[in-house]
């Protein structure tokens, strides 16, 4: 296999241009700086395993040694990872955990079940321990959706006065999400006390819908928690149109995964064949708007500090 001097040892792969991916890539770039290795950053065209396979397979022919990859389809990605590993290349998954067992050596991700549970508990607290929840899921072809839904249902069951009044799904675009959330709100009227969204697009859409909803003084206050951040979401929290969102440490996904790969390329060995690294999450409300970034950075710092004790030898 030809390996020219300018072949970067590490490839960081993002699904497609997307705010989450952009933040992760910043983490990857920071890791490259801090570890002093060259990292090739590649971003695909579609959020599908197909597209990822086509692109990564093309890359795998080029003599790179290690890959940091988002598993588009947690089961399907294992096929891709297996091929890379068989080809003698290291793989670290970031952002979501592939189905276990997996050929990848590490996963750096938010514990989505925990994050969804925490978010839903936070929503229940905001609703004062009782009320009706509109559960907004993002896609129907993503296993994480099911994990999140299970977590939310479990929280609702723990609180006798809380019920999920309707679940809506299948909205991988903001426009569709806005339409569906609006429709549900229109259909349920005052029958909703809280909304939880567990995807980026519905969160963006819900922020817009609720901003509009709360602009009408006759409408009752609907509590809300979303996931992921974006300028409009942060702005809506700041001006009180929505209550909270969960930040998933995307910077850390990129930074930690690439740092580990850099060590492995330099010769470090994993302590276990496979480990999950919880990159942590933080609930953002009006109170910690200006400090949440530091909280997340602190989590990342803690993980990096423990790398040699817990993950590598």
């Amino acid at each position: 296999r030809g390996e020219s001097a300018d072949t970067e040892p590490i490839v960081w792969y993002g699904m497609m241009p997307h705010p989450y991916i952009t933040e992760v890539s910043e983490g990857a770039a920071a890791a490259a700086r801090d570890a002093g290795v060259a990292i090739l950053k590649v971003v695909g065209q579609e959020w599908t395993q197909d597209n990822e396979n086509a692109n990564v397979k093309a890359l795998s022919t080029k003599g790179h040694k290690a890959f940091s990859i988002f598993p588009g389809d947690p089961a399907g990605a294992n096929g891709l990872f297996g091929q890379l590993v068989r080809n003698g290349q290291y793989v670290v998954a970031y952002g979501a955990e592939p189905n276990v067992p997996t050929p990848a050596t590490f996963t750096v991700a938010t514990d989505i079940h925990q994050a969804a549970t925490d978010a839903c508990e936070a929503l229940v607290r905001m609703m004062g321990g009782k009320g009706r929840i509109l559960n907004v899921l993002e896609t129907v072809t993503d296993v994480n959706t099911k994990v999140r839904n299970d977590a939310i249902v479990a929280v609702a069951e723990r609180h006798p006065d809380v019920q999920i009044v309707q679940t809506i799904s299948d909205m991988s675009q903001v426009s569709v999400a806005k339409e569906r959330i609006q429709s549900a709100l229109a259909a349920l009227g005052d029958g909703v006390d809280g909304i939880i969204t567990t995807g980026y697009n519905p969160t963006l859409a819900a922020a817009a819908v609720l901003t509009e909803w709360h602009a009408d003084p006759e409408h009752k206050r609907i509590r809300f928690i979303g996931i992921d951040t974006g300028p409009t979401v942060i702005e809506a929290i700041r001006n009180g149109s929505i209550d909270a969102t969960v930040s998933q440490n995307p910077f850390g996904h990129g930074y930690i995964s690439c740092t580990i790969l850099a060590r492995m390329v330099a010769g470090a060995e994993p302590r276990e064949p496979y480990q999950f690294i919880n990159a942590g999450h933080v609930i953002i409300t009006k109170d910690n708007l200006d400090t949440y970034a530091d909280e997340i950075r602190a989590i990342t710092g803690r993980i990096i500090a423990e790398i040699d004790m817990k993950y590598l030898k």
Partner: protein
Amino acid sequence: MSKDGKEARALEKRTVITGRTIGLMTAALILFGAIALVSSTFLSSYTMFVLSRQIAFFTLIAMAQAVCLVVGGMNLSVGAIGSMCTVVLGLSLSNAGLDGWIAVPLTLLCGAIAGLANGMLIVKLRIDSFIVTLSMMFIFMGLRSGISGGQPYPVPTSFGIVGQRGFMGIPYVFMVMLAVLAVMSYMYRNTVFGRRMLATGGNADAARLSGINNNNMIIGANVLSGLLAALAAVLWTSELGSAAPETGDSWLIVTFAVAIIGGTGLKGGVISPYGIFMGGIIYTLIRHGLIEMKANPYYMNVYIGVLILLTIAIDRLRERYDER
């Protein structure tokens, strides 16, 4: 002489509200009535506001598709143009800090230019519009991703007025759409440009042999399509309160579904703007009705598919029945 006058009126009448449009109206009314019966919140002003805005939006993007279908082509890049225009709007409002009165015309211009590019490529390279707009879809989508990096642009709150407010419970967006409808309907009935576009779509060879410059008609239709897509993007940005680059990603299939439910022929030469409006209403009501009924979200698409098929099948049966 008076006979001609009557005929002229007959033509105008026939083309404003055709039999098909009446059929669609009936379908829309039945849907409306059915939902109103089962839902207590359906007739609330919030619901009406939200739904009419949705209808306006679907109708506009379907028009952007229909104007290309009319000349016998199609525009697969309609959503991509919408996305790109959103980025242009976001850039001008947010990064360049331009005023809306400058940013919006700029965005519309961008849409028109994108449509012009489509049209020029179709006629100059003499390649099917399907292929050209498919390629251009890639290109426009790439441009919007490259320029924006996928990040939405914040827009000033004042920019949200048109998209989020209304007058007497009627959203401004809906009024804009009605105005566009009226103009389009008039254009296809009474202007030389409109009639010629219909002729080109009806039979391009015959149109050419009648001295019509088909190329100009095709270019014109594509510019119009780009313009309408840009307009939809502007209204959508205003409604959302931020310029999201992925704006047009879900448009493509909707535009076809609505335009076709609305009776626009895929073979060209036929359009009914009011029919498309009805198509927008039916499509919106189908989707809203499913949520009202708390349809299993995982099976949602099945119901949507079946209902689209049913609507069109009933419409065709009616038509065949009428022909007797």
